[in-house]
């Protein structure tokens, strides 16, 4: 059965369906519907909800909850995610699973509360200290937000890593019909790592730690993380592409802007400019595979609600095969399909 839900609330309900046992958060616009929803729903489900004193405290409560071996989630928005980076680095180092939702707003600084994608770097390139990555899911509909939030919990457990779900404020506020299918959660071996105060029952004590003062020891643990990241890169990249042989141009967009780009692609095809759309669904691992383009594609146009961040990864994926151009709006301004059409026609070579 489908119900009409706001993106932020659907993400919250998805976490509950996925078996999230504790939510720790802190208010910040435009993600407040998530802690608001959780403050009632988690309590009603007999689970844990705590409004922390700061984003820093919230992510460290997540560190504690994850260390105790249960599914945990926090949510925030860009400046709040900046504060959580310390804890995210610790979670990655200590190999603790959790889900972090970022409802992106515009910056830098306090910026504004309108939709933005200017925190691609923040979630994809880290921000916390050290050599670590976090898988990042970027849905473009409310239903996909639900499906990817549920998947994020499994991926977090499977690889023992923090996982991001990133949306922009538009998707957080947008209402669409959604369906919650039954979930079979990935079974994690809690006894193998959890510091849940059951050393007596399990017969040995566990330690959650990111400190390693031995150079060889720390290098080894970095090698282990790298091996995990290689596995994730190999198995978990997701994208959609409508690019086919004969297309001249490929547009690239993720999240809600991909829906605008899809309209632009249709309009371009109507005008006789053969175009396709590549939509990365995982931002890390970046779906490099999607950029092995047919020979007919001579140019790529990356469309982001930022000054150009994902375009760096697109260029790395293209590895110089064809040029990548950029069109973006920022500060909370959302581009119209016509702007993308004009930009595409301009880069393809004008006059058609």
């Amino acid at each position: 059965m489908k119900t009409l839900m706001k993106g932020n609330e659907a993400i919250s309900q998805a976490a509950i369906v996925a078996g999230c046992k504790a939510f720790f958060g802190y208010p910040i616009t435009p993600q407040n519907e998530i802690p608001e929803y959780m403050s009632a729903a988690m309590v009603n489900a007999g689970r844990v909800f705590v409004q922390a004193e700061s984003e820093v405290a919230a992510i460290n409560m997540i560190y504690g909850g994850a260390a105790a071996g249960v599914r945990v989630m926090t949510s925030s928005s860009s400046p709040g995610i900046a504060l959580k980076q310390e804890g995210i680095s610790y979670l990655a180092a200590a190999k603790l699973p959790c889900v972090i939702v970022s409802v992106m707003r515009c910056g830098p600084g306090l910026g504004g509360i309108l939709p933005s994608q200017s925190d691609y770097f923040q979630v994809v390139k880290g921000g916390g200290n050290g050599d670590y990555y976090t898988p990042v899911y970027a849905p473009n509909s409310v239903q996909e937000s639900v499906d990817l939030t549920i998947k994020a919990f499994d991926i977090a457990d499977k690889y023992r890593t923090p996982v991001f779900v990133v949306v922009d404020g538009t998707l957080g506020q947008m209402m669409e019909p959604v369906e919650f299918k039954p979930v079979t959660p990935y079974q994690i071996d809690v006894d193998s790592f959890a510091t849940n105060g059951q050393s007596g029952k399990r017969g040995y004590r566990n330690m959650v730690n990111s400190l390693n003062l031995s150079a060889i020891g720390l290098e080894k643990s970095n090698f282990e993380l790298k091996a995990t990241y290689d596995e994730i890169r190999k198995n978990e990249a997701m994208y959609e592409s409508s690019v086919k042989d004969g297309d001249e141009i490929a547009l690239v967009a993720y999240g809600v802007p991909s829906r605008i780009a899809l309209n632009a692609v249709k309009a371009l095809n109507d005008k006789g400019v053969k175009a396709g759309l590549i939509r990365p669904i995982t931002l890390w691992p970046f779906p490099d595979e999607a950029f092995k383009l047919p020979a007919s594609v001579k140019i790529v146009l990356v469309c982001e609600l930022s000054m150009g961040q994902m375009i760096d990864d697109v260029r790395l994926a293209l590895n110089g095969s064809v040029p990548a151009h950029f069109y973006g709006r920022t500060g909370g301004v959302i581009f119209e399909p016509e702007e993308l059409v004009d930009a595409a026609i301009k880069v393809v070579g004008g006059g058609k």
Binding site: A22, V56, M61, V72, G197, K201, N206, M207
Partner: protein, 248 residues
């Protein structure tokens, strides 16, 4: 042969990494003995944030978590809320608890988190090389207060027990010292009480322990104990600052 004293089973075989005469070792023993005596060891989680005691997870014979600087009460909250049957304690220094982690400490107390905080007040940042701490005494010279703590410049040292005593949901707060054997015994009684209150579900408890840092203070271990008694205790009066159990 009857045993009068032996090393606590609550400690691992690992030799302590602390400097000679450091009070951390004394307090570690008291916690370990308490956990054994109250039969808590097999379901306890120790949380050690950044500081000399960051390796405490190697020394306590129970589950252990290494936390970020100042964040132990938040980490403890996360664990205790999802595993309420466990016994959770944090082991924090003064830089950790009273500077970078002040917010986490105050709010854990305000929420009445059912955790135990062991607070080592040695008036200095030990691990990083003896810098000024929020608890450094007026006039005390450290590596970042070479002219001595100056009230006009660095303010007065923070009195943590007194500060937390203003919070109604702090269930038990006591300041003790480990400068001699009678005070060590009193400290153990306080630690035991704090853990018993957690077992009984009473909420937030903290024992602040005046401790010596001979290397950081640049004195001998024996002199460090005199420093606690003569310099620290007049500014940091020992005693019970809150005891929800005694007020009934």
């Amino acid at each position: 042969m009857a045993i009068i004293y032996e090393k606590s089973k609550g400690l691992t075989e690992r030799p302590l990494t602390y400097c000679p005469g450091c009070s951390h070792g004394i307090v570690h023993k008291l916690i370990a003995e308490t956990l054994v005596e109250l039969n808590l060891l097999d379901h306890t989680v120790a949380i050690a944030p950044v500081g000399c005691s960051v390796f405490a997870y190697d020394f306590f014979n129970c589950d252990g978590v290494q936390a970020a600087h100042g964040r132990a009460p938040a980490v403890a909250t996360g664990i205790k809320r999802v595993a309420p049957e466990s016994i959770v304690f944090t082991y924090q220094g003064d830089g950790d608890l009273a500077a970078i982690g002040t917010a986490e400490t105050i709010h854990a107390a305000h929420r009445g988190e059912n955790i135990t905080v062991i607070f080592i007040n040695n008036a200095i940042y030990g691990m990083t090389g003896g810098q000024l701490a929020p608890t450094t005494l007026v006039g005390q010279k450290t590596s970042t207060s070479p002219f001595g703590r100056n009230v006009a410049h660095q303010g007065l040292p923070i009195k943590v027990c007194e500060m937390l005593a203003a919070i109604p949901s702090s269930y038990y707060l006591e300041r003790t010292s480990v400068h001699d054997v009678p005070h060590i015994r009193k400290t153990k009684a306080a630690i035991k009480k704090a853990f018993q209150y957690q077992v009984d579900g009473k909420g937030f408890s903290m024992v602040e322990i005046l401790s010596g840092c001979p290397v950081g203070w640049n004195v001998s271990p024996v002199e460090s104990m005199k420093f606690i008694k003569e310099q620290m205790m007049p500014y940091y009066p020992l005693g019970v600052y809150r005891d929800g159990g005694a007020e009934i």
